[in-house]
Amino acid sequence: MSAPPFALLVEEHWRDVARLARALAGPLDGDDVAQQAWAQALAAYPPAGGLRDPRAWLLVVTSRCATDVHRARARRPVPVEEVPEAPLEGADPADGELAGADPALWAAVRALPERQRTALALRYVADADHATVASALGTTPGATRRLVSDALAALRRELAVHEAAPEGAGDAGGRDEQQEGTGRGRRS
């Protein structure tokens, strides 16, 4: 009944973890989050509570890791005396390049409240059951059902906004239209 070799977990689940990390942290930071999640999982392996479902355990570790990274970013002091070279708000142009064809989607996902994004990604990107989503968010399966359906609705709203005025659409539209598009969909 001993824990399986960690290398076999990596082999079996690295794609699921990578996909979830991307959905949670975006195409730019996703690989970093996945890497950190694996390092944390290794250090904690095998988990004290046993390992009935290795995949679910890895998904929970990954989602917590994404949350930690997100919080660390939010806490990082912004040097107000320096004038930033690029606008802080709005889409990172590199995001669009990495994301390939779908910058509007990533902008919409970024706009979701964090718990909604986590619930949505676990449920729909990683196919986790509600018990796993609940354990990742420290809440009940009932509450996660609500979070997921709110997230789906919010994602559709955000998508409608970002697609109506795609970020980085360049000179395709008129000047007014483009400026509205950088408003990050907070209008509705």
Binding site: S2, A3, P4, P5, F6, A7, L8, V10, W14, R15, V17, A18, R19, L20, R22, A23, P27, G30, D31, A34, Q35, W38, A39, L42, A43, Y45, P46, A99, G100, D102, L105, W106, A108, V109, L120, A121, Y124, V125, D129, H130, R145, S149, L152, A153, L155, R156, L159
Partner: protein, 213 residues
């Protein structure tokens, strides 16, 4: 299933929502990259292994938590690799990670040895995968130098268990650190080459290499 029911309801009520989720799933899955894991024992990778193609077949090398070689074992296919990894997880630590950097020194020595450019291995060995009896037998191999041969019966006598040549043969057959601990230098009393974990061809080749075949 509860979840399935919910999904059906959700898509029935708002198909557009589901489509957005599917789009996220597709976008998140593009160009996935394999993670680079920590490989040092300090970072929790107690066992670092690699699989090497050598002149005598595919070999799995594993470096243990103390920096000593815990496995040098023939692994002709993926199933054999998996069996070895499971054994390492059970007997040494489940924190087993692929770490070619940690096994590179012994891999290089193995290559030199197989090219006839090296006679002894300069590597610490940890017999964590062996039972106490297997350990006692394998430790006797230190006295059987490059190009020499001995027999199962002689090793049994050296251990003070003259009648145990079969048990000695079984212990050698379970050698977790092949080549580095030279069980290939042990043959039957008749001089015949008997079993070898890497196959009789490999044993013949090793003895020929050492000029003892």
């Amino acid at each position: 299933m509860d979840d399935a029911a919910e999904t059906t309801t959700a898509s029935g009520a708002a198909g557009g929502d589901e489509a957005a989720a599917a789009r996220l799933r597709a976008a998140a899955g593009q160009g996935l990259r394999r993670p680079a894991l920590p490989t040092s024992a300090d970072a929790g990778a107690d066992v670092g292994f690699s699989v090497q193609e050598t002149a005598i077949g595919r070999v799995l090398l594993a470096d243990g938590p103390g920096g000593a070689l815990v496995a040098s074992a023939f692994a002709p296919d993926d199933a054999a690799v998996e069996r070895l990894l499971r054994r390492l997880a059970q007997k040494v630590s489940p924190r087993v990670v692929e770490a070619p950097g940690r096994t590179a020194p012994v891999a290089a020595q193995l290559e030199e040895y197989l090219a006839g450019e090296r006679r002894t291995f300069d590597v610490a060995v940890d017999l964590a995968l062996a039972t106490p009896f297997q350990r006692a037998v394998l430790e006797q191999l230190a006295g059987v130098g490059y190009g020499a041969r001995t027999t199962y019966g002689a090793l049994a006598r050296d251990l003070g268990r003259a009648g145990a040549s079969r048990a000695v043969g079984a212990a050698l057959g379970a050698n977790p650190v092949c080549v580095v601990l030279p069980c290939h230098r042990v043959v039957a009393g008749s001089g015949a080459l008997t079993g070898y974990a890497g196959g009789l061809d490999a044993k013949r080749r090793l003895l020929a290499l050492e000029g003892a075949g």
